[in-house]
Symmetry: C2
Subunit: 159 residues, 2 copies
DNA sequence: AGTATTGAGGACTCTTTTATCCTAAACTAA
DNA sequence: TTAGTTTAGGATAAAAGAGTCCTCAATACT
């Protein structure tokens, strides 16, 4: 199992790319999808969720697209996760037990509760501006690798 | 998204119950499933994975069932997770980026890498005997709640 | 006004996960 | 040896997640 759903990961990557591209103009979802090597249709669906949650503003027609409703500096990673995957990851019992809590804890409750605080803090601390600048500093790719890219990557790895 | 798949959670619950019940005799999967309020067929499939990984010994026929291949004290939570969900959770990039690593990190890489160490340590530290004794101490339920139980639970909550 | 562009949103398909059911094989006990 | 019990394992079904496609509404530009 991955920590986050694919939709959520795509949403995060798109948001980071948007933060890199600048916050002034509307960016077309099609362009974002192309840069990330994702299906534009699928990404549209995902970003719609962010728009509905009020994280993004959208605009139709030529010169349309999406942009942040607030400065990227103020948008925390957890907001994107909450909008797409929900907060279950940070709030639910690790063993999926209904009603697990301080009063009736599951055998893992205490340790896991401490851990979710850390996890949550991580996601509450990281904002899109910071993540975007990381990408610049490290010269990094957000792009989803195609099968061809993966072959290429593994070839270079061997050398 | 949950941290662990349902199969994995069921496997863990079953293992904890087995540790509570004692390690001497084979326990029938049907009995375990009944106590946990799970489908016996489904649980059988899951425990088969643990058997194939060598964590459990199984025995067919009357007086048959499953039991640990080693003392519960020596079986760590991470072994069950590894057998069912795999180690992706502890090893993969949080943004699902292929090839993310020290050399070419994703914007979250460093923070997330530190975090997975903690997460992994938690799962490597907890063993089934310890978890089982927690259940005894706290008077806890591992049982999956039925819809009826959930109604009951919420009713008591309101009071 | 007309046309091209872009997000919104519904319908649909494919895959994976979750769950059920059936038969076979191994085993116990009478 | 026969009957009953229990895991192994394949076939299948249901549900959720991932992804595609089509139409509509809003918009900009001519």
């Amino acid at each position: 199992m991955a920590l986050l759903s694919k939709s959520c990961v795509y949403g995060i990557r798109a948001a980071i790319l948007m933060a890199i591209k600048g916050e002034r103009d509307y960016l077309s979802i099609k362009d974002i999808a192309e840069e990330l090597n994702l299906s534009a249709h699928f990404l549209t669906k995902i970003l719609q969720q962010l728009t509905q949650e009020g994280l993004l503003l959208s605009h139709r027609g030529p010169k349309g697209g999406v942009k942040f409703s607030r400065p990227a500096r103020e948008i925390k990673l957890i907001e994107i996760v909450a909008a797409i995957d929900g907060l279950e990851l940070f709030e639910a019992c690790a063993l999926g037990l209904h009603g697990c809590g301080t009063a009736t804890p599951c055998p893992l409750h205490e340790k896991w509760a401490k851990h979710t605080v850390l996890l949550r803090t991580l996601f509450e601390t990281e904002d899109l501006e910071k993540l975007a600048s990381n990408v610049g500093d490290a010269g990094l790719r957000l792009r989803t690798l195609s099968q061809l890219d993966i072959l290429e990557f593994n070839k270079n790895k061997k050398k």
